[in-house]
């Protein structure tokens, strides 16, 4: 099963993104604590794309797909803004962020802790995040 959602690059749209992911996971029988964390992971990626890749330009689009394959969930988040320098953030640690008094940088740490697999791909004209998780059904 695939569920699709389209939004635009305004942080006020994050609540709609969270509602879409939450409803999709509830419909597919996912347990509550996992729902909260996966909603958070998607929120983190979309927040970064809206703010950093697309400079909060609400004419710019983000496409989100939830794909359920057996007990696996693949979440694909695609945008058409500035590419993210994944290598600049891969070695971030909590200590480093505290030291530098940075308000940002925690999001990717969270996503990597929540999801089983995080991939980032960029090619001409678009960037794509793929988040994967093996799901635990309710009960």
């Amino acid at each position: 099963m695939k569920l699709y959602f389209k939004t635009y690059c305004n942080t006020h749209n994050l609540k709609q993104v969270r509602d879409f992911v939450r409803e999709g996971l509830v419909q597919n029988g996912i347990a509550d604590p996992d729902i909260y964390m996966m909603v958070l992971a998607v929120d983190e990626i979309c927040s970064n794309l809206i703010i950093h890749s697309n400079n909060c330009d609400d004419e710019k689009q983000i496409d989100l797909v939830l794909q359920f394959i057996g007990d696996k969930l693949n979440i694909t988040i695609r945008d058409y803004g500035i590419s993210f320098k994944y290598e600049d953030h891969i070695d971030n640690t909590l200590e480093k962020l505290v030291e530098e008094k940075r308000k940002g940088g925690l999001g990717l740490l969270l996503v990597k802790k929540i999801m089983d697999e995080v991939r980032y791909e960029t090619s001409s004209g678009h960037n794509c995040w793929v988040l994967c998780k093996t799901l635990k059904p309710v009960g």
């Binding site: 942080t11 006020h12 969270r18 604590p33 505290v98 940075r102 940002g104 925690l106 999001g107």
Partner: protein, 115 residues
């Protein structure tokens, strides 16, 4: 998301109501800046009505840690729901930020000789 401020004796309480995300975190940041500019040294954060937090909200708390430590400003969070608390825990922020169960615990902690 709203932040309400109340003052009691020698401490101030900020009550967060709603979802704290990249859109709303500026409201919390401004509220903390406001109480710091009023020379408050004991800040309690009531999270009972905080239903959701993303890293943008965590980042606001984290960005004050060093300055608060240097200036002996004490901040304690209390009344977190289990899922919000888990977000702090999985990053290890519960080791850096003071988090307790109740307001009474929070009041006791900010008044301890060694914080």
């Amino acid at each position: 998301m709203e932040v309400y401020q109340s003052k009691e004796n020698d401490f101030v309480t900020l009550t967060i109501d709603g979802e704290l995300d990249a859109s709303s975190c500026i409201v919390l940041d401004e509220s903390i800046q406001q109480v710091v500019s009023e020379n408050e040294k004991r800040i309690l954060i009531d999270c009972k009505q905080l239903s959701y937090i993303s890293s943008a909200g965590l980042g606001v708390f984290m960005s004050y840690l060093q300055d608060f430590s240097k200036n002996d400003i004490r901040m304690v969070l209390f009344n977190l729901n289990p899922q919000v608390k888990e977000v702090f825990r999985i990053l290890g922020l519960d080791n850096l930020i003071k988090i307790v169960g109740t307001k009474e615990d929070a009041k006791a902690l900010v008044n301890e000789v060694v914080f």
